[in-house]
Symmetry: C2
Subunit: 225 residues, 2 copies
Amino acid sequence: MHRTKVKVAEDALDANTTIAAANRADFDRHGVSVVNFMSAPGAGKTTLLERVLGEVDARVGVLEGDVQGSADADRLSALHLPVVQLNTDSGFGGECHLDANMVRSALGDLPLEDLDLLVIENVGNLVCPAEFKVGEDARVMVSSVTEGEDKPFKYPLMFRACELVLINKIDLLEHLDFDLDRFLYHLDAVHPGVEHMLLSAKTGEGTEAFRDWLTGVAKTAPAPA
Amino acid sequence: MHRTKVKVAEDALDANTTIAAANRADFDRHGVSVVNFMSAPGAGKTTLLERVLGEVDARVGVLEGDVQGSADADRLSALHLPVVQLNTDSGFGGECHLDANMVRSALGDLPLEDLDLLVIENVGNLVCPAEFKVGEDARVMVSSVTEGEDKPFKYPLMFRACELVLINKIDLLEHLDFDLDRFLYHLDAVHPGVEHMLLSAKTGEGTEAFRDWLTGVAKTAPAPA
């Protein structure tokens, strides 16, 4: 029974890889760079995007992933960017993550030809989103200091699967027992040398560096075919 | 293709229901009440258990669920309670939740005959843990005020699937924009009338009520067969 279960999982991952490559080809054809943006629930992904996306020096769109509802998409639509809501509850069984097929189902609603950068905000979850590539160029994860120093070694795949770790809510550091050195020690143990930034989506402290990082990713996109 | 996928999911849930009933029968036979304890990563489940379990008026054991590692079990073992670590990474594909079969695989390591109350600390995740009963009497979820007011309507199944909602980290309220009335309004919308408690695992404020609630659950267990 275990053997059968493992086989099914491998098939699913293979299908995901195939569809992710198809997404990737579409992004390349339109000259769009794509960032897969991940975190635990409530780490501040949407607040951070509200803070920086309007100031990124590129034409930006957002694909908003949630189990249900459109609260985050509604918030981001105030930035007057193209925002598409993708719910895993409708036709995808209430999945706890986005996969390549779900993203593909939404591509027709996105004006790829008018974008340089697409940010895909994943479902809040530190486990499964890391297992499914969706055709992205880079993966960014947000870890809030209120979540504790132990998260890198409790959810190592997530911290290993990303190119950039944003350490958010640093405005609260003075009210917490959070030991930043210990967090960075754990982070370096699971993903040696990974880039990280300290910031506060609420106060804006440190967010310029992330804004500039996004602009840099947007500039790496190939010219549209 | 969608039809096939849905069918597989139903089969899996049925198997889970069957095994959960077998777990339930074992718990009843030993006179053990069981609480399934759930939250997002970093909401403070382990810190709260460290705070209260030593003072619950019952013989308590813990089944500690994590993707990998034994950090939380190591912390709780300082309470000199029976603690068993269950990793979803070993043989269970790194699952983002506990299910009845995983719990069953660990029952042999637990001294059920010496317990009145078993607390099962689930993997930190606001989606899938709510979909898998494990044979528990009650489900408790912890929502930290640092996660924001919108969590009940973004993850409604989790908030609907529990008998008690613990609103943790209230020591930080004065440093946050968190609107408690708005959170409670959302909570009542997705789960009308559900019991909730405000507390701080860090300072201990409000935790006596949860300790007494656990004692009450322990007392409801049937006499051992």
